[in-house]
């Protein structure tokens, strides 16, 4: 008389693949001593996921006739981004974590777990599932941030990230609980239906605010951004690269879903919030980046600013703007990880002054860094320009011209600090000998990113439309 319905697992295949291989890695660690193989497995897993994705379209897990897990274009696109950031992070990690004495098999499996968490977030249409995915991602990232456990900075980054993360997820839960109380369900679509039927209450706004705060924390939008610089600086650079893209993307993914589907009927309210936050984020990110001396911190602030630009994609809520935001995310993944991979390439490349005279000793590397910097600034013919152009066009089309004007002014200001790097590389004399640590995987990552930066910059049609 126990009638357990075994639900259709097809849509979850990618997640299952990635979790299985992550678990497998944990065991393999006992067998293989050469960690290179792990990287290989990780990459091939990503490939498998991407392969499995198309055949996994559909919804699943029916509770009272509604789905909880949905695998559609939206989620697929974000999963693509996750996989890209995963692969690139793995590529830039291989030699780096050796140098950092942090080479554990768990490193890779944790990366995979984090990715799994993100994928769940992207696909969840049920708040409980969403929460679990978020926690899976978050917990893995906490650990990864602190994985250089002999390094005080790494510990500090981890503890800060962890505490604040826990704090924010508590808020998220409180919001969810209120929402549950209001609607008696955790399924976004049902919530939406029910909210449409009833009139807007202050409680709803409260819960929305709480949820928004939690997500904005994840994408490091001001004023919930303050963890980012410290954590980015302290964490191992490869993880910083990963964090600056993956969790951010996941955050945007859930924002898109929850707010567009769940809170559809109070769009005006949350749009107002996001506009304010977006402006603040762009301003704070760019202005603070101006005064940094540590390149990882600078990139942290720059990534905050970029989050602001992406929020501009969220605000209008048109099909166009959403896709623009996603495209930006993709481009951002390439250029940002590219920049970080250069940072990793250098023996000591954390301080901006470490780059003085790089063009003299290593012209090629300098040139590559130059490309990434200009792409982050958004100068054509790099991908960065396409991303910005796309977002701004969507926003203006939706009538947010004034917002775009603010954004472009700040993006012009941002040129100043990106150019500082270029200036140091090309126009200053070398202080001390610059040592670099190239490796096949790292070079592969750099080549891949720079290639994409240019290809997308020149033939944008491959990502837009």
């Amino acid at each position: 008389m126990m009638n357990i319905v075994i639900p259709d697992l097809r849509p979850v295949t990618p997640e299952i693949i990635i979790t299985l291989s992550a678990t497998a890695l944990l065991m393999l660690e006992l067998i293989f001593k050469n960690k290179g193989i792990f990287a290989l497995i990780g990459i091939s897993t990503a490939a498998a996921v991407l392969y499995a994705m198309p055949m996994s379209y559909g919804e699943t897990f029916f509770a009272e006739g509604t789905a909880m897990f949905i695998s559609d274009n939206y989620s697929a696109y974000f999963k693509l981004i996750f996989m890209i950031s995963l692969v690139l992070s793995i590529l830039i990690s291989v030699r780096y974590i050796q140098r950092q004495k942090a080479e554990y098999g768990e490193y890779y499996s944790l990366l995979l777990f984090a990715a799994a968490g993100m994928m769940l977030m992207a696909s969840a249409r049920d708040l409980i599932l969403l929460y679990l995915g978020l926690e899976l991602m978050a917990l893995s990232t906490y650990i990864l941030a602190g994985i250089k456990r002999h390094d005080i900075k790494s510990n500090e980054a981890a503890i800060k990230y962890f505490l604040l993360g826990a704090f924010s997820s508590a808020m998220l839960l409180y919001g969810i609980s209120l929402l549950y109380g209001l609607t008696a369900t955790t399924d976004l679509y049902k919530i939406a239906e029910h909210l449409k039927a009833t009139e807007v209450t202050a409680t709803l706004l409260l819960s929305m605010a709480l949820i928004a705060v939690a997500f904005l924390f994840k994408i490091a939008a001001a004023p919930f951004h303050m963890w980012a610089p410290d954590v980015y600086e302290g964490a191992p650079t490869s993880i910083t690269a990963f964090m600056s893209v993956g969790p951010k993307a996941a955050g945007f993914a859930v924002i898109g879903r929850v707010f567009y589907i769940g809170f559809e009927n109070i769009q005006t309210d949350w749009t107002a919030i996001f506009i304010g936050v977006a402006i603040l984020t762009i301003a704070v990110g760019n202005i603070l980046a101006l005064v940094q001396t540590n390149i990882k911190r600078m990139l942290a602030y720059s990534s905050i600013a970029h989050a602001g630009y992406m929020l501009i994609g969220i605000i209008p809520g048109t099909q166009e703007s959403m896709s623009a935001m996603m495209v930006y995310m993709l481009i951002y993944a390439f250029m940002n990880i590219g920049a970080f991979s250069i940072v990793i390439l250098l023996e000591k490349g954390d301080e901006i002054k470490d780059y003085e005279g790089l063009a003299k000793s290593h012209p090629l590397i300098a040139a590559l860094m130059l490309v990434f910097m200009f792409s982050l600034t958004g100068i054509p013919p790099t991908a960065g320009f396409i991303g910005k152009f796309n977002i701004f066009m969507a926003a203006i089309n939706a009538g947010y011209t004034w917002l775009v004007v603010i954004a472009v002014i700040f993006s012009a200001i941002s040129a100043y600090y990106y150019l500082r790097i270029v200036m140091n590389m090309y126009m200053k004399e070398m202080k001390e000998e610059i040592i670099i640590h190239p490796s096949i995987s790292l070079n592969a990552a750099i080549v891949l990113t720079v290639l994409m930066v240019f290809v997308i910059g020149i033939i944008p049609s491959i990502v837009i439309g």
């Binding site: 929460y131 917990l139 456990r149 981890a158 505490l163 704090f167 409180y174 609980s177 008696a184 600086e233």
Partner: protein, 100 residues
């Protein structure tokens, strides 16, 4: 019959107390406990809701929250231990290596 608002109020109070604890205490462990406090307040309200809504999802969520809380505690304390090994510090104002 106790009105639902009371439960919500109670959970709200505890939530805020937890929050204040998190915001004010220097000791990281206490901060961690404050977070647990907040989570519990959420649990209370969830259970209350699910009772009054005659719906079970809330309680399932509670179950998961407890699980996650456990995991969080484990990881958090692990990080704390690692930190403690490098630098005998459990106070937030002792770990300001990175700023600006």
């Amino acid at each position: 019959m106790v009105p639902l608002q009371w439960y919500i109020g109670l959970s709200a109070i505890i939530f805020i107390i937890g929050m204040i604890g998190f915001l004010t205490r220097r000791n990281i462990i206490i901060m961690l406990m404050s977070v647990e406090l907040m989570l519990n307040s959420v649990n209370i309200s969830l259970v209350a809701f699910s009772h009054y809504l005659q719906d079970i999802k809330g309680q399932i969520l509670v179950l998961f929250i407890i699980t996650v809380a456990a995991a969080e505690a484990a990881i958090g304390l692990a990080i704390l231990v690692a930190l403690f090994k490098n630098k005998a510090a459990v106070h937030t104002d002792e770990i300001i290596e990175m700023k600006g």
